[in-house]
C-alpha cells in the first residue's frame, strides 16, 4: 500500500545508473509517495535523468552539469530541495538499493522505541542479492558484520559505519554537518563525524532490510573492498582515531587491530612460505586452524542454514581464499592511504548488473 510518509525524504544521488535506477524507483514508489522521493543526477552520460523524470515530479529531480561526486551531489540535493526544513527525517540511498516495503516503518519505530537513547540516526540491515559465488561470499560477510559486529556496536553505541544505502538520519544532522569529499567512503566519514561532534547516538534495526547489488566479478569485488578499506583508513587518519578519547575510538582500534593481524599473518606466510615449506611445512597450517575451524566454518554453516543456500558448501575453498585475500587488501589500503596514494571525493563504485534471460549483464566499466 502506498503511504504518504511526509516525515521522511528519500534522496538518491545518481551517476550513470540507467542499469538499475528504473527498478529502484519502481520499487520505492510502490510504497512511498513520489513527492517524498528526490534524485540528484550528477552529470550522467546515460539515460539516468530521463528515466528519473518518468517516475518523479520535475521539481524533485536535479541535474548537475558538473561532476560533484556522491557526497557533493547529496549536499547540493539536501540544500536545493530544502529537505532539512521540510522533513523530520532524511534517508540518502544508493541508486542500486531497494529497501523492503516495511523499511521506513521499522526504522521510525526504532526511533520512537529508543526515545531515551536520543537516536540521531538508525541504520538497517543490508542484504545482498545472491547470484554467484562472489555475491554468496558477500552474504556471509554481511551476516557476520551485521549479526555480530553491528549488534555489539549497537549495544555499546559505537556503530562505526551507517551504510549509504540503509540509514535514516534526523534531518537536523544536516544542519550541523555535511557529507565530506575528503574520503572515498562518505557514509563512514559522516558516521565518524557524528561521533566526534557528539550529535547523538546511532541505532541499528535488523528488522529493517535493504537489498543491494554486490559486485558481479572478482575484479569488481577486489576494487570495492579496496575502496571500503581505503575509506576506513582515510577516516581513521582524518578523525584522529584512536586518540579522540571516546568509546568509539576503542571500537575502531579493535577493528583495525583485527584487520592488521589478519593481513600480516597472511603476508608473513606468503613471504616466508619457501623457507617454511622447506624446513617446517606444518607451520603453514597452524595459524589457520583456529581461524578456519573455530570461526570461519561455524559462521559459514550458520549462514548456509539460515538462507538455505546449501550450494555455498561447494565454495568453501574459494571463500576461505577470499577471506585471506581481503586481509591482504586491508594492508595494501593502509599503505596506500599512509603514502597519500588514495583518491577521494570522486564517484567510486562497482559496475552495476542486470540479470536477464539467465545472463549476467554488466554495465560499462567506470575506469
Amino acid at each position: 500500500m502506498k503511504k504518504n510518509n511526509s516525515k521522511t525524504a528519500i534522496i538518491i544521488p545518481a551517476s550513470n545508473e540507467e542499469f538499475v535506477i528504473e527498478k529502484t524507483l519502481k520499487t520505492i514508489l510502490s510504497y512511498i509517495n513520489k513527492h517524498d522521493v528526490y534524485l540528484v543526477d550528477d552529470n550522467s552520460k546515460d539515460k539516468t535523468f530521463e528515466l528519473a523524470l518518468k517516475f518523479l515530479p520535475l521539481n524533485n529531480v536535479l541535474s548537475l552539469r558538473k561532476n560533484s561526486g556522491k557526497a557533493g551531489a547529496l549536499n547540493i540535493g539536501i540544500n536545493k530541495f530544502k529537505l532539512t526544513e521540510k522533513y523530520e527525517y532524511i534517508m540518502p540511498i544508493d541508486a542500486d538499493a531497494v529497501p523492503a516495503s516495511q523499511f521506513l516503518e521499522n526504522i521510525l519505530e526504532c526511533f520512537i522505541l529508543n526515545k531515551k537513547r536520543k537516536l540521531i540516526a538508525v541504520t538497517g540491515k543490508v542484504i545482498g542479492n545472491n547470484s554467484s559465488w562472489i555475491t554468496a561470499y558477500r552474504l556471509w560477510e554481511y551476516e557476520i558484520s551485521q549479526n555480530i559486529y553491528k549488534n555489539s556496536q549497537n549495544a555499546t553505541s559505537t556503530i562505526a559505519v551507517c551504510p549509504g544505502c540503509a540509514t535514516v538520519y534526523r534531518s537536523k544532522v544536516f544542519k550541523k554537518i555535511h557529507f565530506s569529499r575528503d574520503t572515498v567512503t562518505e557514509d563512514m566519514d559522516l558516521t565518524f563525524e557524528i561521533h566526534r561532534k557528539k550529535l547523538g547516538k546511532i541505532g541499528y534495526c535488523s528488522k529493517a532490510t535493504v537489498n543491494t547489488q554486490d559486485p558481479g566479478t572478482f575484479r569488481d569485488f577486489a576494487k570495492q573492498v579496496e575502496r571500503w578499506y581505503k575509506g576506513f583508513w582515510q577516516c581513521v587518519i582524518k578523525h584522529n582515531v584512536p586518540w579522540g578519547g571516546q568509546k568509539f575510538d576503542l571500537e575502531v582500534a579493535l577493528l583495525a587491530t583485527e584487520g592488521i593481524f589478519n593481513g600480516f599473518i597472511v603476508l608473513a606466510l606468503l613471504l616466508l612460505s619457501p623457507v617454511i615449506i622447506r624446513f617446517r611445512y606444518e607451520l603453514m597450517i597452524y595459524p589457520f586452524i583456529f581461524d578456519f575451524w573455530l570461526f570461519f566454518l561455524p559462521s559459514l554453516l550458520y549462514t548456509i542454514l539460515k538462507y538455505k543456500e546449501y550450494r555455498m558448501m561447494l565454495y568453501i575453498p574459494q571463500f576461505y581464499f577470499m577471506r585471506l585475500f581481503t586481509g591482504l587488501i586491508f594492508i595494501k589500503s593502509f599503505l596506500k592511504v599512509l603514502f597519500g596514494l588514495a583518491p577521494s571525493g570522486e564517484w567510486q563504485r562497482t559496475r552495476r548488473w542486470q540479470i536477464s534471460e539467465r545472463k549476467l549483464w554488466l554495465s560499462p566499466s567506470l575506469d
Binding site: 555480530i148 555489539s152 587491530t257 595459524p287
Partner: protein, 48 residues
C-alpha cells in the same frame, strides 16, 4: 597430540586475528543477559 597442542601454543599469537570478533560476541552476550535480567526483575517487582 601433545606435540600438536604444544606446536599450536608455540605460535606467537594463536587466534589473535579473531580477538575483536570474540570481544564483540562477549558484548552481545553481556548485553542480552542484562536485558533479560532487567526484564525479569521488572516482572518480579511488579508482582510484589
Amino acid at each position: 597430540m601433545a606435540d600438536f597442542r604444544k606446536e599450536i601454543m608455540a605460535q606467537p599469537i594463536p587466534g589473535l586475528n579473531n580477538i575483536s570478533l570474540v570481544i564483540h560476541l562477549l558484548v552481545i552476550v553481556v548485553a542480552k543477559t542484562s536485558t533479560t535480567i532487567k526484564k525479569l526483575l521488572g516482572k518480579f517487582i511488579k508482582r510484589k
